[in-house]
């Protein structure tokens, strides 16, 4: 029997099919999954069939579509959950206030801060502007759902080289086009809702050409007494759907995100990509915060992947309740939607809240002032089942445990082969000055001002340190950005991104650690104490054992690092199946955001050299670890040891450095990352408009190349005034090594012929992306 023959249109004034599933053969089950685009495997379809056999009836299309959503990788993490459980779950600290849609940590006695990062990769690869914009919309909703005021966005992005030459593979858009569209989408959405985009990152590699990564992070601040749950608190509560209307946009979005991109994706998947509406969102923020502050709702949740089908079950089941839904009440964008389409639609800007029946009128009045469409659509029950009705006729009746439980897979994996010193091939290098300038002009290092200046990074008037620091309109790269989230309080929240996909490719375990280390040291560099991580794990197809092996080992490294430091990861996101047509998979990309706290923002430290005549120190140890380094990538080196992270040493040296900063002994500080010590010092010269004279003889390293370009983790450059050197070295012990002083207006390295004027370095660093992307005043 064909799939078509198994479907009978119900004789009703709405569009519903009954599907004969109980006697379907394996082949027929597969046909049904494919005909309805459910994205369910044979084993999953068999479980579905068994369920309906037990229920003693056939299925409706609404029920099968709902399962297709709930059991997708995107919704139930069926491949990644066992790995996460094994390595990263369970870092419990008492200052974790919530692990809901966003994580929430203690900020001070009265406030908590919310954090979460997630991916919006596949939609952005198809339609970069709308994909990125809706990505921001989604992550902001996750923060609002906690009752938190969004206060900052961070957007790490990965593209192919924007100046890529040559033919583009079929169905793939040029990286420059994607980058331009994504940045515009973030700009228009973030700026319009008035949330500053405070940090981010750009990572360029050929492997991202066919599958760009758009990760979006949002931070929020919430009074601890107003913190919201994401679920109903009792049976009999009213579920109110609010925000945007429901349309056909975004149908099957989660199944799309859980598949590789194919050459025909663009045509197939238009429906999965949506346009965001920041002007619906902005009033929604006001209304939600008012509801939270007035304690009028019991729970709030965003409609993300799977739309209503996921949110209703999840809000009901958390405390073991059920829900009865009147589906015909859902406000629509267009007429003629079938019930299953309404149930799984992923139209943007929609949220759900639960409230006590006696508060419904008060809640609706607040929505009304802000002109927000809001409709009571469901009631929680004590049945443990979700039931859907269309004008009173039941069209859906399922056990929520079964529906949201989802399958879990322990898929096979292979341990990745790692890069070592034994297989190192050191590249031939031009003169050192040229090497430094080439590294500064690599797109991965070069100024991202083209993008940063398009983002409003100081709306809300709380931005203390920005992504560009130093002399006005002549600045250089900062480390973490720092916000002052509560007006009138000097306490600060720092946030920074860290990720090294090249290390992770060459040695996933060390790369995972190094990514956390980078985010951690960025936060320390501004004088803040790292407090929590959130992560977005972008990896390849988990059904391929090599890809799953990379994922496992990277997560292993992340878990070991976070556990050793006892820093919680209260939220996170996994994005798998990041592969382009032809099976080109992305670099394994564990994107990390670290948040830190600083008691008094007036003590924050920026990365720009402040004056001539200060002494420079390298904090941390440098080893012969060239694997995955920018130097090797730029000049064709191969193999090499990937930087290992000694977490105990990191803890010790960062504690000392923070103490020195707290005592006001550090004039400027910058972490060493891509391009090593040489690039870090050059950047500090650029942002401070001050030269430096380096003497690296005190460094314990085999040669100058390692001293200058190795990317060993857990390292910073610190500028210290001569009068404070005694006290500084007393605090730092052997964690700091003197490496020279600030001087003149050129970078000079003793014992080499390096003498590069700051202006020359600035041009090398500043111009490349501007030149590629165009712009500037006419």
């Amino acid at each position: 029997m064909t799939a078509d023959e198994r479907m009978t249109k119900r004789n009703a004034p709405y569009d519903l099919c009954d599907i004969r599933i109980r006697d379907a053969s394996d082949k027929e089950l597969e046909d049904i999954s494919s005909a309805l685009s459910l994205g369910l495997s044979l084993d999953e379809m068999k479980a579905v069939k068994d369920y309906f056999v037990k229920e003693g009836r056939e299925a409706t299309d609404v029920e099968l579509q709902s399962l297709g959503q709930a059991w997708s990788e995107h919704c139930c993490y069926k491949s990644s959950k066992p790995v996460l459980k094994e390595f990263v779950f369970g870092i419990d600290r008492e200052d974790v206030l919530s692990r809901g849609d966003a994580g929430v940590m203690v900020f001070d006695d009265d406030y908590g801060y919310a954090l979460r990062v997630e991916s919006h990769n596949h939609p952005s690869a198809i339609e970069p502007y709308g994909g990125a914009a809706t990505g921001i919309g989604g992550i902001v909703r996750d923060v609002i759902c906690m009752g938190a005021q969004p206060i900052g966005l961070a957007d790490p992005l990965c593209f192919g080289y924007p100046d890529r030459k040559g033919e583009m593979p079929q169905g793939i858009k040029h990286p420059r086009y994607l980058m331009s569209g994504v940045v515009s989408g973030i700009r228009d959405y973030g700026n319009r809702i008035g949330i500053p985009t405070i940090t981010g990152g750009f990572f360029f590699d050929e492997s991202y050409t066919g599958n760009c990564l758009v990760n979006v992070c949002c931070l929020g601040i919430v009074k601890r007494k107003d913190l919201l749950n994401n679920f109903a608190s009792a049976p009999g509560e009213v579920m109110i759907l609010f925000g945007g209307r429901t349309g056909r946009d975004g149908i099957h979005g989660v199944n799309f995100a859980s598949k590789d991109i194919t050459a025909t994706s663009e045509d197939d998947s238009r429906g999965a990509v949506q346009l965001g509406d920041p002007i619906t969102k902005e009033p929604v923020i006001h209304a939600c915060l008012e509801l939270a502050q007035k304690h009028l709702v019991t729970g709030m949740k965003d409609l993300g992947g799977g739309g209503l089908s996921c949110v209703v079950g999840e809000m009901a089941i958390e405390k073991g309740f059920g829900a009865d839904v009147d589906l015909e009440k859902v406000p629509l964008k267009e007429t003629g939607l079938a019930p299953w389409e309404i149930w799984v639609s992923e139209s943007q800007e929609r949220m759900m809240c639960t409230c006590k029946p006696e508060n419904v009128d008060k809640v609706m009045a607040i929505f009304d002032l802000w002109d927000i469409i809001a409709t009571p659509v469901a009631v929680t029950t004590d049945t443990g089942r979700t039931r859907l009705f269309w004008n009173g006729e039941k069209i859906f009746d399922m056990d929520i445990e079964f529906l949201t439980g989802g399958p879990v897979y322990n898929r096979p994996y292979t341990m990745p082969k790692v890069s070592t010193k034994a297989d190192e091939r050191f590249p031939e290098l031009p003169a050192l000055s040229e090497v430094i300038l080439k590294l500064l002009s690599d797109p991965n290092v070069a100024s991202k001002e083209w993008a940063i200046r398009q983002y409003d990074h100081e709306v809300r008037a709380g931005t203390v340190l920005r992504p560009i620091v130093g002399k006005l309109n002549k600045g250089g790269p900062g480390d973490a950005s720092v916000l002052m989230p509560v007006p009138g309080r000097w306490k600060g929240l720092a946030a920074a991104v860290g990720c090294n996909p090249w290390f992770t490719k060459a040695n996933p375990y060390r790369g995972g650690m190094a990514s956390l280390d980078e985010a951690f040291r960025n936060v320390v560099a501004v004088g803040a104490r790292p407090n929590a991580f959130t992560d977005c794990l972008n990896f390849g197809n988990p059904e391929k054992p090599e890809r799953l092996g990379e994922f496992r080992e990277a997560v292993h490294g992340i878990g070991d690092f976070a556990k050793e430091l006892n820093i919680p990861i209260p939220s996170g996101n996994v994005s798998l199946y990041n592969e382009a047509p032809g099976g080109v998979h992305i670099l394994p990309t564990p994107m990390i955001v670290c948040c830190g706290l600083i008691d008094d923002v007036r003590k924050a430290v920026s990365a720009d050299f402040k004056k001539t005549g200060s002494l420079l120190f390298l904090v941390g140890r440098t080893a012969d670890e060239m694997g995955g380094s920018l130097l090797f990538r730029k000049f064709g080196g191969e193999g090499g040891e990937v930087p290992a992270t000694d977490v105990k040493r990191l803890k010790d040296s960062s504690d000392r450095l923070l103490k020195a900063m707290d005592e006001g002994l550090v004039l400027s500080c910058h972490d060493c990352s891509d391009g090593g010590l040489a690039v870090a010092v050059a950047e500090m010269c650029i942002s401070g408009d001050v030269g430096a004279e380096l003497d690296l003889s005190a460094m314990d390293c085999p040669n100058d190349n390692v001293k200058l370009f190795a990317e060993s983790t857990s390292r910073w450059i610190a500028e210290v005034d001569g009068k404070d050197v005694t006290r500084f070295t007393e605090i730092m012990g052997d964690a700091a090594t003197p490496i020279g002083l600030t001087k003149g207006n050129a970078l000079v390295i003793k014992g080499t012929d390096v003498e590069i004027p700051v202006e020359v370095m600035r041009a090398a660093w500043n111009d490349p992306i501007w030149n590629i992307m165009g712009g500037g005043a006419q």
Binding site: R192, L369, W370, I452, R453, V459, A461, P487, D608, A777
Partner: protein
């Protein structure tokens, strides 16, 4: 008038997004501010929420993207005001009460015809426009402003002429244009120029110091009476030194430069 008696109406619609910091800025200089939705002034709300403009002493239009900046920045907000409470606004201005518009708020004042209003209080049609930056991009960057107002503007009455202030810009449409002949010199003659973009040493600004290409490097203007001021950069974002871009490189006081504008208008009201 005592500072604590000064009531500020920070008016907003959907898409206005700088109202929190604008309200805070006035609170920081001792005034009482209230964030009021335009619907509350128009009476399109629960009676308990209704507000009347005449109960306030200062009216502030904060920045943002009111109504999504659709049609034109500020145009939709302005026409809703004009249609609903146009007369109330005119009376407010005629009574000499201060009106401040920042960024999108400046765009709204221009669309309303309250600025430049060379010949009176409020022109029937807009006589100026805040148009796309020359760069064609949204520009979020530091600006240095020079107070060029000789005496008229109530928002700079406590700032010596020629003084430089740090004030961040963040806009895509800030180029002040007009079809009035000799527009800039007319503003000059009327003492309606308030702030100009300059370089950090006070010199003539080119891009990026003038972030939008405004003729005459104009960043802010006032009406002929001096009680309505609009400016593109955001003084409410720099009420403390620690939100100024380069504060880690040294700063002259704990207060931010933007606070001077708010203390000025409070000083003006204290004499009333």
């Amino acid at each position: 008038m005592k500072a604590e008696d000064v009531r500020v109406c920070v008016v907003r619609i959907e898409g206005t997004n700088c109202e929190d910091e604008m309200a805070n800025a006035f609170e920081m200089v001792g005034a009482k501010s209230e964030k009021v939705h335009l619907k509350q002034l128009l009476g399109q709300c629960d009676p308990s929420l209704k507000r009347s403009l005449e109960d306030y002493d200062i009216l502030a239009f904060p920045g943002g993207f009111s109504a999504g900046d659709y049609v034109r920045a500020g145009a939709i907000f302005a026409s809703r005001i004009k249609a609903g409470i146009g007369k109330d606004i005119r009376d407010f201005v005629d009574a000499g009460k201060p009106v401040l518009g920042v960024c999108n708020g400046f765009q709204i004042l221009v669309e309303l015809g309250l600025l430049p209003a060379l010949d009176g209080t409020m022109s029937e049609e807009p006589t100026a426009a805040l148009y796309n930056n020359d760069s064609g991009r949204f520009e979020c960057r530091p600006s240095i402003l020079r107070n060029d107002n000789r005496s008229k503007c109530v928002f700079t009455c406590d700032i010596p002429k020629g003084e430089l202030l740090y004030c961040p810009s963040a806009h895509g449409e800030g180029k002040l244009m007009s079809n009035i002949p000799n527009f800039v010199s007319k503003l000059e003659e009327n003492d309606q120029v308030v702030f100009r973009y300059v370089t950090p040493d006070g010199g003539r600004a080119t891009y990026p110091w003038n972030p939008n290409g405004s003729p005459g490097d104009i960043a802010g203007i006032c009406n002929p009476a001096g009680n309505v001021m609009g400016m593109m950069p955001h003084p409410e974002r720099v009420m403390t030194a620690y939100t100024m871009d380069d504060w880690t490189r040294g700063h002259r006081s704990e207060d931010g430069d933007g606070k001077r504008i708010f203390t000025s208008v409070m000083k003006y009201l204290s004499k009333k």
